[in-house]
Each structure stands twice: as C-alpha cells, then as structure tokens.
C-alpha cells in the first residue's frame, strides 16, 4: 500500500529535520532505544512528563523573575532543573537556551534574564509542537500499517482457501 510508503517517507524526513535543525539531539535517540515491547509507550510517557514539568517550571520562573526583589539563586535553581530535564530528553535548543539564561542569572542581569526567559519559552513551545507532530505521525503510520497488515493477512487467508 503506497500510503504506508508515503507516510514513512514523510516521517523520516520530518524526524531527520528535527535533528538537523538542532531541536533534538542524540539523547532522544537513546530514549527511543529504551522503548520495547515491554515498555511500548516509554518515549511518549517521558515526553508527557517533560511537558507537564516544563510548564510548571516556566510558571515558577516567570513568578521568580517578576518579584520586587529578584532572588537570582532561586531563578538559577529553576533554570538548572529545566536545563537538566531538557537535556535528559534530548531537547537540545531548550537546553542551550537554559544555559544562556543561567549566565544572565550569574551576572544578576535582570533585563537579560527577562529577554532570555522569553526565548526559553519560545524554544520550549517550538519543540513541544514538533514532538506532538512527530507522535501524531507515528500513530498515523501505525494505524495505516495495522490496516495494511490486516489487509495482507485477510488476503493471504482468502487465497489459501
């Protein structure tokens, strides 16, 4: 069935672009290696946790930065966490932006922090969008592969008789 071939090609092209454009790095590949028949949803689970965790961190960061007297140590603690989690799932651009944000924290540069936080958010929502697209692509592919195999099996058994 041609549609499977087409979808596969689209998926591979999209997935490759994510690495090429630096949205994802090697660590995302490592995550995928941890998925198998005994843990078939591992990647989606971890990424879902990442989304929840990140959105909470972004809120905490926004709150900390908007204080009358900004506690840069607190801000740094949140960024450190965000850098860690994005690094753990392979969200490369988010991680790099967190590294930049930490520099501004070290310098106690509030203006720099504010601007950089916007960029962190931007990168986060970008990669979130990309990953959701990727997962939709996978399930679409799976559905079509399943129906393709059903078709094959049905066809095979019909011919045997």
């Amino acid at each position: 069935m041609e549609i499977v071939g087409q979808l596969q090609k689209q998926y591979v092209e999209f997935s490759t672009s994510l690495y090429r454009e630096g949205f994802l790095d090697e660590q995302f590949i490592q995550l995928q290696k941890l998925q198998d028949e005994s843990n078939p949803d591992f990647v989606v689970e971890v990424v879902s946790i990442f989304f929840e965790d990140s959105e909470k961190l972004i809120n905490d960061l926004a709150t900390a930065i908007q204080q009358q007297v900004v506690d840069f140590k607190q801000v740094d603690a949140h960024v450190h966490q965000f850098k860690g989690s994005s690094s753990s799932i392979g969200a490369n651009r988010v991680k790099n932006m967190c590294i930049a944000l930490r520099s501004f924290c070290d310098e106690k540069n509030l203006d720099g922090c504010l601007r950089c936080l916007q960029q962190v958010k931007h990168e986060y929502f970008l990669v979130k969008n990309k990953l959701e697209t990727l997962f939709r692509g996978i399930s679409h592919l799976k559905e079509n592969i399943d129906s393709f195999f059903s078709f094959l099996i049905h066809h095979f058994f019909r011919r045997k008789k």
Partner: protein, 188 residues
C-alpha cells in the same frame, strides 16, 4: 537450585534523584539491565529507606539491635544518586552511607549534570565507585555490573569467615548469601 528463582537473585539498586524525568530514565535503564529497582525522590527518603535516619545519634553504638535490622528485608546491592538535590545532597548521602558500619560496603555511584572535576574527585575520594555525567546512558549502566559482582564475591568470603561466629547476623543475611550466585541469570 536449578532453574533459578530470578526475582531473589536480581541485584537490587536504589536510585535517588529529585527530578521526576531522571528518575524515570534511570529506572528504565536499570530495569533494562535486569536489576530490581527502587527509586527515591530525595536524600532524606533514601536515608529513611536505608534505616540511617535514626543512626545520626547512635553512630558509635553496635548495630546488632538497631533499627537497621528492622530493615533486614530490604537488601540493597548498590546506590546510585544524583549529586545536586535540595536538602540532603548526593554527596551528603554518600558520606552517611560510608560512615555507617552496616552500609559502608554498598557501592555508591554519583550522577551529575555538571562536569566539575573537584566535585568528582571529592566524591571518589570519599568512597564513590564511579561518577556518571548526565544524561546517563546504557553504556554507563553497563559499567555497574563489575562493582556489584565484586561485592557479591566479598560477601561470600565474609560469610565463610564468619559462619561459625555471628549466628544472628547470618540468619538475617543467609537468604542472600548462602548460595553461589555465579549463574547465567545475572548476565545481562
């Protein structure tokens, strides 16, 4: 026993990390290597699990009747912990374990997202077996097995040496240490 009861023969690793994502990752990595895994979200919870919280006041007392033996159903073969954690850090945890007469021989591995040589050296000097940079990979986890096998060897030696002496302790330890465990069940 032929055939092997795999659950009791698995190495039990205690993983400690305040990051929910890293806990999920390390758990999966360890389970892929067929280890039994317990994850804790803080140093305090880990100490509690290991029965070390009460020991702060009684470090010099003999432990034969202490709370640690209430924990005799919990057998931990290795501890892998994040360095940067709020409250009790991985470093603090390492120190406490190495200062404990009961737990000091358990191999401890430290994980950190930051490559700070002085930090790494300090951990190794205070008894850490190894130091992994995050994100931790399968190749890092594969390095754990020799440390675990070595401790198992030592455990057998100690058991042979003390077999006629400390009977109460032997009763507690025997489920884990009476049989030779060089068997294919433990090979990854």
């Amino acid at each position: 026993m032929s055939g092997g009861v795999t659950t009791e023969m698995k190495f039990h690793v205690l993983a400690v990390d305040d990051s929910i994502i890293d806990r999920k990752l390390i758990e999966r990595l360890l389970k892929t290597s067929s280890y039994q895994v317990t994850v804790m979200e803080s140093g305090v919870k880990a100490l509690e699990y290991l029965g070390l919280l009460d020991d702060e006041k009684s470090n010099t007392k003999s432990h034969s009747n202490s709370t640690t033996w209430n924990q005799n159903e919990i057998q931990v073969n290795m501890i892998i912990t994040d360095y940067c954690m709020p409250g009790i850090t991985g470093y603090d945890l390492l120190r406490k374990i190495k200062e404990s007469t009961v737990l000091k021989d358990i191999p401890v591995v430290i994980m950190s997202s930051e490559n700070v040589p002085s930090r790494i050296n300090s951990c190794l000097e205070h008894g850490a077996e190894d130091f992994f940079l995050k994100p931790v990979q399968q190749s890092d986890v594969n390095k754990l097995r020799p440390h675990l096998m070595r401790e198992k060897e030592k455990g057998k030696e100690n058991q042979f040496n003390s077999i006629n002496k400390r009977k109460p302790i032997e009763e507690c330890l025997s489920p884990d240490r009476t049989r030779i465990r060089f068997n294919n069940d433990l090979v990854a």
